[in-house]
């Protein structure tokens, strides 16, 4: 047995390069691409190609399990590194804000209209039912008194919930309340997106339900002649918040539609394409709800003039519509 095995010689000649690649990968995985020197960056593609070809040769000539497992793992790792994403988190965020998000929203006008139909349908239904007979309010809300904003309250009390006295604010309670609402709404938005997978039916139900909740409350104020003031109170942040809820519903419908009616593609491919777009919209909803919470926590409680409230509501609406639907030049790749 004086001469060496062919497979052993094969390994002897190449293992230094394999280990060098291993070292570079470990460094990159632990500290990111920036840790690598120029020389290492230049060596990487060559070492990667060599490892891949070593693997296919080793599979056919070597019976050393350890070598094959090692190369298999090395090639997998380097494949994911070489063909992996190279952008930083900041770049991805900018890309999301400047391009991906508005593009995803403006491509889904139909789904948005459908979601708006369900939401405002629920709203209108509850509103007109309650105006005819206030007993409906209790049917919708059960025994939840909504901080006394119910049909039994006096006009003065209802008016007092819309405006904030100077001496009441400043305890930070408003901030706590709006962050609680943000949590709640953002969770509902993500839920509406996720439920879309069940062909969008639960999403539709969730939209109608939220519409009914707000519509019935609206009826209470309208009935007492406070419709104009309540709209200002609701819409200063509501434009952003309700828009976000409608968009999250739209994201759910996109997925539901893609799963139920895949068209010419396979169901998997269709779900996949829709999922990417819908997830972008859902992520955007979280951003919108953060904006809404800020408007709610500060704007609504500090601004007590109806005119300014309407002005803020109007300008947020114009801002969102412009941001989403004004066509923009595709950025140079």
């Amino acid at each position: 047995m004086s001469d060496l095995l062919k497979s052993y010689r094969f390994r002897e000649e190449r293992q230094a390069d394999w280990q060098r690649l291993d070292l570079i990968l470990t460094k990159a995985e632990n500290g990111g691409v920036k840790k690598l020197s120029d020389e290492q960056m230049l060596a990487l593609p060559r070492l990667y190609r060599q490892a891949v070809s070593s693997l296919s040769v080793a599979r056919s000539i070597s019976l050393d399990q350890n070598v094959i497992n090692y190369l298999e793992s090395l090639c997998t790792r380097s494949y994911f590194f070489v063909y992996g994403a190279r952008t930083t988190l900041g770049e991805r965020m900018m890309m999301f804000l400047r391009q991906d998000w508005p593009a995803a929203v403006s491509q889904s006008v139909l789904a948005t209209l459908l979601a708006a139909f369900f939401f405002f349908g629920g709203w209108a239904l509850a509103f007109f039912l309650c105006l005819q007979d206030m007993e409906w309010y209790w049917t919708f809300h059960g025994q939840n008194f909504m901080e006394g904003r119910n049909p039994d309250a006096t006009v003065e009390y209802l008016r007092s919930t819309i405006y904030v006295n100077e001496d009441e604010i400043g305890d930070g309670q408003l901030t706590a309340f709006s962050s609680f609402l943000f949590n709640n709404n953002a969770q509902i938005a993500l839920f509406a997106f996720a439920l879309g997978f069940a062909f969008g039916i639960p999403t539709a139900w969730l939209l109608v339900y939220n519409g009914v909740m707000i519509g019935s409350m609206y009826a209470v104020f309208w009935d007492k002649g406070l419709g104009y003031e309540f709209t200002g109170w609701l819409m200063i942040h509501g434009v952003t918040e309700l828009y976000a809820i409608v968009l999250s519903g739209a994201a759910g419908f996109i997925i539901g539609g893609a799963v139920a009616f895949p068209g010419g593609r396979t169901r998997l491919a269709s779900a996949r394409a829709a999922g990417q777009k819908a997830a972008t919209i859902a992520m955007g909803c979280v951003v919108m709800l953060i904006v809404a919470a800020i408007l709610e926590g500060f704007g609504r409680q500090l601004i007590n003039s109806d005119e300014i409230r309407y002005a803020v509501a109007g300008s947020t609406l114009i801002f969102w519509l412009g941001y989403f639907y004004i066509p923009r030049k595709a950025p140079d790749a």
């Binding site: 999301f96 309670q173 997978f197």
Partner: protein, 318 residues
């Protein structure tokens, strides 16, 4: 990507010289190999080379998830306790603001923990990293940020929904609704068990899957120890002796040499000696014998492979 061709078990039960017990064992081994090969997917790189990816099993995924959940809870509880201690020293106003920020933080831990880690270079949460798992795009392409978002937002119906229904109770009607909802949402929770790619609903929507990509270490080649001149002259095996075993036995022997105790090595050595009629010479250690036989067997089997003849195991007599 397509499934790797499954290993076809060869019916050898009626071969001469194969006992009932051995046949049962062999069949069990082939069935196990077949089961493992069902979890392997081939990925052809742009260079034209095939890489074999092994999918993470449902139990590995569940294990990783439990670790991640534990970490999330640890973060939430630790920050909450920390907040509780700091809040005593604050005015009511700033305490409320601090609590408000904690609530938002809670939301982000709950929903963005997975996204934060999976969007990174390793495409794996700490739990997945511990178990050697990572997320990959199903078409072998780049794992996009949108995919990571999609697969993690869907988690809400896979975990959150069954959990909410399980907590739903109240009157008779509510309990029945809860049970019905639990069954319905259980479909989402148990989805990975019922498809061959072990995809969650989130994976399906995002076009991803979770693969097992553990780090392996390159160890010494065993034949390098056997290549020393003094061992070469001592151990000269005949062709008949090196034809006694096949590739499966070679791999078992490699495992024995790499990781088992001296007692097991001694047992294996005496069984091989009996099988190939090797008489033990003066001063011959078990380890040296096993290493030399491993080298000789591998040489013989590799030679046969070059001629297109894979002897899969010792029953494979051609």
């Amino acid at each position: 990507m397509s499934a790797a061709p499954p290993v076809k078990p060869v019916d050898t039960s009626r071969r001469p010289g194969l006992s009932m017990e051995a046949a049962v064992q062999r069949r069990a081994r082939l069935a196990e190999e077949m089961r493992v090969s069902k979890m392997v997917r081939r990925l052809v790189t742009p260079e034209g080379a095939a890489i074999q990816l092994r999918l993470g099993s449902a139990s590995e995924r569940a294990g990783a998830f439990l670790i991640d959940i534990a970490i999330q809870w640890a973060i939430v509880i630790a920050t909450f306790v920390g907040l509780g201690m700091v809040i005593g020293a604050m005015s009511p106003g700033s305490a409320n603001v601090a609590f408000a920020f904690w609530l938002v933080f809670f939301f982000f831990v709950r929903n963005f923990y997975y996204i934060f880690f999976e969007i990174g270079q390793r495409a794996a949460t700490p739990g997945k990293r511990v178990l050697g798992l990572r997320v990959a795009a199903r078409d072998g392409g780049r794992l996009t940020a949108n995919s990571v978002l999609a697969r993690n937002f869907i988690r809400e119906i896979e975990i959150g929904l069954p959990f909410q229904f399980a907590l739903m109770g109240g009157d008779q009607f509510g309990a029945w609704m809860g049970l019905f909802g639990l069954l319905w949402s259980g479909v989402f929770l148990l989805f990975p068990i019922f498809n061959k790619d072990k995809m969650r609903v989130g994976d399906l929507i995002a076009g991803t899957w979770v693969i097992k990509a553990p780090k392996a270490k390159l160890m010494q080649d065993i034949t390098s120890a056997a290549a020393r001149p003094e061992t070469g002259s001592r151990f000269a095996f005949t062709t008949a002796q090196t034809d006694a075993y096949g590739i499966h036995e070679l791999h078992v022997l490699e495992d024995v040499l790499r990781q088992s105790t001296p007692e097991i090595k001694a047992q294996v050595a005496s069984r091989i000696r009996a099988k190939i009629n090797w008489t033990r010479t003066e001063g011959e250690t078990d380890l040296a014998f096993l290493e030399a036989y491993y080298a000789a067997l591998r040489r013989r089997l590799e030679q046969r492979i070059l001629l297109g003849d894979r002897k899969t195991d010792k029953y494979d007599v051609r």
